[in-house]
């Protein structure tokens, strides 16, 4: 029941289909086309870059902020709510706020600065900076979630261990390194897998802010697939791209199951 539609979808990747008429069997031609398409390679490369950025920058910010929150006993819940605000807002609103109020040359804060202080380009309009710019907006929206998760995990660290370390004269860094970090490692591992999976699926911010441009410099597998399906009506090819995305995600999922094989036994 579940397998049949899934297999039908996978089979689409081997056809030429415009969405309306009967699909025409092509064999491996879609894949051959893709492998010869420089934009496809660029999209994969951008996805890898995106994954590396998201596995480091928001993770580091979230870990630091979560450990700082532990020291603020009365205000921690207020901080948590503030950090989560960007996360709970819709990507449409967030992307439009950043594009129009901050990056835009005419109406944004950057435009204002470049008129009055020093000339700055719209970082979204440049091939060399566009990907990092979109990634920073996505990080702005996402890191609070990680911080809240890490913070919740850190609060589960047994107090006896912390007190013992404190009494033995361990400093803040030593406590973090030898007690907090090992205790929250399962949570970090899970977030690593989640971030990897979502990095290969990511779509909203890139599609909304640059649409994959300028000159495909922010093209990801997801935006590429979307373009194939709804701009050039090559649904078969779009499905082939989506299959590639699944492969990366499945690898991450497999890694996770392998890592948590013990806790799954119960």
């Amino acid at each position: 029941m579940i397998l049949v539609p899934a297999l039908l979808t996978v089979m689409l990747a081997f056809t030429d289909w415009d969405g309306v008429s009967m699909p025409v069997w092509l064999g491996l031609e879609n894949f051959r086309d893709l492998l010869n398409d420089i934009t496809f390679w660029r999209a994969i490369f951008n996805n890898v870059k995106w994954t590396i950025i998201f596995l480091t920058v928001p993770m580091a910010i979230a870990l630091v902020v979560a450990s700082l929150l532990l020291t603020r006993r009365r205000s921690q819940s207020v901080y948590q709510s503030i950090f989560l605000l960007p996360y709970i807002l819709s990507p449409i609103a967030n992307a439009s706020i950043w594009s129009n109020m901050i990056f835009d040359q005419r109406s944004g804060v950057l435009g204002y600065f470049s008129r009055h202080l020093l000339p700055l380009h719209d970082p979204l309009g440049h091939v060399s900076t566009a990907l990092y710019t979109v990634a920073s907006v996505d990080i702005w929206h996402f890191w609070g979630y990680l911080a809240v998760v890490f913070f919740a995990a850190m609060r589960q660290v047994p107090t006896e261990q912390l007190e013992a370390a404190y009494l033995e004269g361990a400093g803040g860094w030593q406590i973090f390194r030898h007690i907090t970090l090992p205790n929250i490692l399962p949570t970090i591992a899970l977030m690593f897998v989640m971030v990897t999976i979502f990095s290969f699926l990511t779509f909203d911010y890139v599609f909304l802010m640059t649409g994959g441009g300028p000159a495909h410099s922010t093209e990801l597998l997801s935006t590429l697939a979307y373009g194939f399906a709804f701009r050039s009506f090559e649904v078969g090819k779009a499905t082939a791209v989506a299959l590639f995305m699944s492969v990366f995600g499945l690898m991450a999922a497999y890694a996770y199951v392998w890592m948590s094989r013990e806790s799954l036994q119960q």
Partner: protein, 276 residues
């Protein structure tokens, strides 16, 4: 942790303050510019508004077609939540209570369904829906979003049921309750907090969902609030004051909802990610 040295505390406060500024500044920009005219914004996006005039909001309400959007957003979110919680709870019960040998396999299957990109089935699904005339039908779209939310919801609800002692099931069994009665009168009332958490997270996801909603809810009549805003913002020469007022209309209800139910949000987000 007891800290006596005041310097780390000061540094912590400074860093946290900086992150607060980074998180809030763009949102503050929206609020102040929602009360300004387009010309004022282009002149200086950082200036404070001259007056608290609500014209922009009125124009945004009609420009974003929000009276239609509100109804669609509520219907879409409501249907998705109902379907997800109902099917999620029903699926979680046997998964938690029976000794399922293939539990590992089921987990793997759910995990795969989270991993699989929406794009894989989005395109064929779209053309199928188009042929069936379901494009723009909120209830049909809600089914897709519910299906996407189900795996994680089932996992969450299953862990929730695992915390309910099996002795209660046994007692119900001895009293002659059928599995359905056990579920309906014993488990369901006890797992209500879990259902509420799932409902809150799913409603947030649905309200903010972009890819599926924008693909399947085409045409003005099917627009949700966020899609109405998207259409307004994408117009040829948008008035930024009106646009920011529209952004306010879109984000303020979510912020209110979030602040009101914070605890549930945070529980829902951390559940599953944190063991304990």
């Amino acid at each position: 942790m007891i800290r006596t040295d005041p310097r780390p505390a000061l540094l912590a406060r400074l860093l946290l303050g900086l992150m607060v500024l980074v998180s809030l500044a763009p949102l503050l920009l929206v609020v102040i510019n929602a009360f300004k005219s387009h010309a004022d914004i282009v002149e200086n996006p950082l200036s404070l508004p001259h007056s608290l005039a609500w014209m922009n909001f009125k124009a945004a309400w009609t420009g974003g077609n929000f009276s239609v959007g509100v109804v669609n957003s509520v219907l879409l979110t409501g249907t998705t939540v109902l379907v997800t919680v109902a099917f999620g709870a029903l699926a979680a019960f046997p998964l938690a209570r029976r000794r399922i040998v293939i539990w590992k396999l089921v987990t793997l299957y759910f995990l795969c369904s989270v991993t699989v990109p929406i794009q894989l089935f989005l395109f064929p699904m779209y053309f199928l829906y188009a042929r069936l005339g379901l494009i723009g039908n909120v209830f049909a779209t809600a089914l897709i979003i519910a299906a996407i939310n189900l795996p994680l919801s089932i996992m969450l609800l299953r862990t929730y049921i695992l915390t309910i002692p099996t002795e209660l099931d046994d007692a119900a069994f001895i009293d002659g309750a059928s599995p359905w009665q056990t579920f309906r009168y014993v488990i369901l009332p006890l797992m209500k907090p879990g259902c509420v958490t799932v409902a809150v997270i799913v409603s947030l996801n649905t309200w903010n969902e972009f890819l599926i909603t924008s693909t399947f809810q085409q045409g003005d009549a099917g627009f949700t609030m966020t899609l109405g805003y998207h259409a307004m913002a994408g117009a040829m020469s948008p008035d930024l004051g009106i646009m920011m007022a529209g952004a306010c209309i879109v984000i303020v209800p979510i912020i209110a909802f979030f602040l009101f139910l914070q605890r549930l949000f945070i529980d829902g987000m951390t559940a599953g990610a944190v063991k304990g």
